[in-house]
């Protein structure tokens, strides 16, 4: 069963799900029912070295760079309105393909043009981000963005990191000012 994580809590993925090979980061929200700019939530992944920085810009996987060069992290495609059943966006992480020099993978969630559109997670209906085992779609961790991060526009959801030969997941749940650009720069992306 899914482990309910508190902010900062972590789970040993290799122990909880010994057969775990692929992780799915799922992102979902309700499309906007009221009039005005659509809600567009984006998920992104940063493949980081031990120093907390990317090797190059291609380690930043998001809607404009949907696959890392090694193929370990891929983005399922951009949903710009939340229309559709189930997870509206997915990022797939194949742990077996992650190069050894990558120490951890940070997962971020942002609202596209949040400032210009004056939006935050709380304005979006039923917004969440979650982490699942691709095999059987078992949920490992989840944040209710609408409820728990209602005034945020960008957040570091969690980190998948190496602990020796094992993989762990840490629920970070930390708001981040400024959106995707500043978030990416903080990981050493040169945009």
């Amino acid at each position: 069963m899914a482990i309910s994580l508190q902010k900062g809590g972590n789970v040993n993925l290799s122990k909880e799900a010994p057969s775990l090979k692929k992780l799915v980061i799922g992102l979902g929200w309700d499309p906007r029912a009221t009039d005005g700019a659509a809600f567009d939530i984006d998920g992104s992944a940063f493949m980081l070295k031990a120093d907390g920085k990317v090797r190059s810009d291609s380690d930043f996987v998001f809607y404009n760079n949907v696959k890392s060069t090694d193929g370990s992290v891929s983005h399922g495609g951009d949903n710009t309105s939340g229309v559709g059943e189930g997870d509206d966006e997915k990022i797939l992480i194949d742990l077996s393909l992650v190069p050894s020099e990558i120490d951890r993978i940070a997962v971020g969630v942002t609202i596209h043009e949040a400032d210009a559109r004056r939006q935050n997670f709380g304005m979006v209906g039923k917004a969440y981000i979650r982490c699942l085992d691709a095999n059987g779609n078992k949920e490992i961790a989840r944040y209710d963005l609408s409820e728990d991060s209602s005034t945020e526009t960008a957040m570091i959801f969690g980190e998948i990191y190496r602990a020796g030969a094992e993989w762990k997941f840490k629920a970070v749940g930390q708001g981040f000012a400024g959106g995707l650009g500043p978030l990416a720069r903080s990981f050493g992306i040169s945009t």
Binding site: R32, T34, G36, G122, E147
Partner: protein, 438 residues
């Protein structure tokens, strides 16, 4: 005290364990109406009695009630514990009651007050919005066994109707009734504010409509007034004004926009601005000031103009095949004398037989022809031509009725509305059977 931003949440049950508090509301710079909607877990207004507003000020359970909050223009009292479990959330909304969009708002706020203590304040201004005409300000909702509040500040360009549609019943139950009801309610409120002299008239019209099964009927209403010189006395005495108000009241029952189209005819035809709630006071006086009475009386010209206005394709000319429309047109045609273009008038009425227009002719004169055929034989009709129109042969369907009055105020409101609904309901059925109406 917490100042809330759009999207921000608040655990009400932690702040106010009793669940009893008031919500104070203000929206300056626009005429608006506030309302609370008690919705089910699907976000729908499954029980109309949980729309709480000026006209339905208390929910059946008493958990929601219109109240005064000192210092605030509007307010609601909440007793969350009294709400049935079927009410999963309560939305606080506002809609513009006249013209204008939310960007024209000055400042406004929603605040949560327990006793004298202000616990939360959600400010908003017109700059937060654009073309919305209705807004959801905030929402109290059940979560994890308690109640929470969220500041929403999102809305609908389509106004109250769009809002109610958003909360509308499920598809099987049809979306329109609550929306139609809300539009009706909004109109009633406008009447109370803008034209209170119509309130009783509208009620009276409603009684007559109910008798003939037209309570929920929709139609366009047109008033066609004779402005030939002989009408001078009636205009001067204000009789035409009061009569026009009686027709406007009928228009308010048939049409949610609270206005009727007006045509004037003598020698020529004129179409002034429609008569509505906002301009109905002194409306006829202004008409006469702008359109001096004329020397001739030509029904046919007026009818051509009216036909051309509602069904422009023939420009008021000959119609060879039936035309269909979603809404019928009810024309109240008022004259005090005969016409000088009888042949044209007859043609017009025949052509119009293929259009969803009903002509209710009313002749004003000193004597009148009894409705009874037997008595009629012994009296002289003041309007033999109008009467002949009523039975004019060669029409697609019978599209006219005629009666005469000795004076414009001869009948009580109730009797007048009954008279206006003598043949119209039958024509509606006929028109629908002949493909002029759905």
């Amino acid at each position: 005290m917490t100042t809330l931003a759009k999207g921000q949440r608040l655990k009400i049950s932690d702040l106010i364990p009793t669940g009893a508090f008031r919500v104070g509301l203000a929206a300056h710079g626009l005429a608006v109406d506030f309302a609370c909607f008690g919705l089910d877990s699907a976000g729908k207004l499954s029980d109309d009695r949980y729309m709480t507003f000026f006209n339905q000020p208390r929910s059946p359970c008493g958990g929601l009630e219109v109240c005064t909050v000192p210092g605030d223009p509007d307010g609601f009292a909440f007793k969350l514990a009294s709400l049935p479990t079927t009410v999963d959330r309560v939305v606080v909304a506002l809609s513009v009651s006249g013209d204008g969009v939310m960007s024209a708002l000055g400042s406004g706020y929603l605040r949560i007050v327990e006793g004298e203590r202000e616990l939360a304040h959600f400010p908003f201004t017109g700059a937060d919005f654009s073309s919305e005409r209705a807004l959801i300000l905030g929402e109290f909702y059940r979560k994890d066994g308690g109640w929470r509040f969220m500041a929403v500040g999102q809305g609908f360009d389509g106004g109250l109707e769009a809002l109610v549609k958003h909360f509308g019943a499920t598809v099987e139950e049809s979306l329109t009734p609550p929306a139609a009801q809300a539009a009706k309610v909004a109109l009633n409120k406008r009447v109370e504010r803008e034209a209170p002299q119509l309130v009783n008239l509208i009620k009276q019209a409603g009684v007559s409509l109910q008798k003939v099964g037209l309570s929920d009927h929709h139609a366009k209403v047109c008033l066609c007034l004779d402005i030939s010189g002989s009408m001078a006395g009636l205009y001067r005495q204000g009789m035409v004004q009061s009569f026009a108000e009686r027709v406007l009241a009928l228009g308010c029952k048939f049409d949610d926009d609270g206005a009727i189209d007006v045509f004037l005819f003598g020698e020529d035809v004129h179409q002034p601005v429609p008569m509505g709630l906002a301009n109905c006071r002194g409306y006829v006086q202004q008409l006469v000031a702008r359109h001096p009475l004329e020397g001739d009386t030509r029904y046919g010209r007026a009818m051509a103009a009216i036909r051309g206005f509602y069904f422009p394709d023939t420009a008021g000319g000959e119609r060879l095949s039936p035309v269909k429309a979603a809404l019928p047109v009810y024309v109240m045609f008022v004259t005090d004398g005969s016409t000088s273009d009888k042949a044209v008038t007859e043609k017009q009425l025949r052509w119009s037989g293929m259009e969803p227009i009903f002509w209710q002719f009313m002749g004003i004169g000193n004597g009148r022809k009894p409705k009874s055929r037997l008595l009629a034989a012994f009296s002289t009709a003041d309007f033999p031509f109008l009467e002949s129109l009523d039975d004019l042969p060669g029409r697609f369907i019978d599209n006219a009725d005629y009666f005469s009055v000795s004076s414009l105020d001869e009948h009580s409101d109730a009797a007048l509305y009954d008279l206006l609904m003598t043949e119209y309901p039958g024509w509606l059925k006929l028109a629908s059977r002949h493909g002029l109406l759905p």
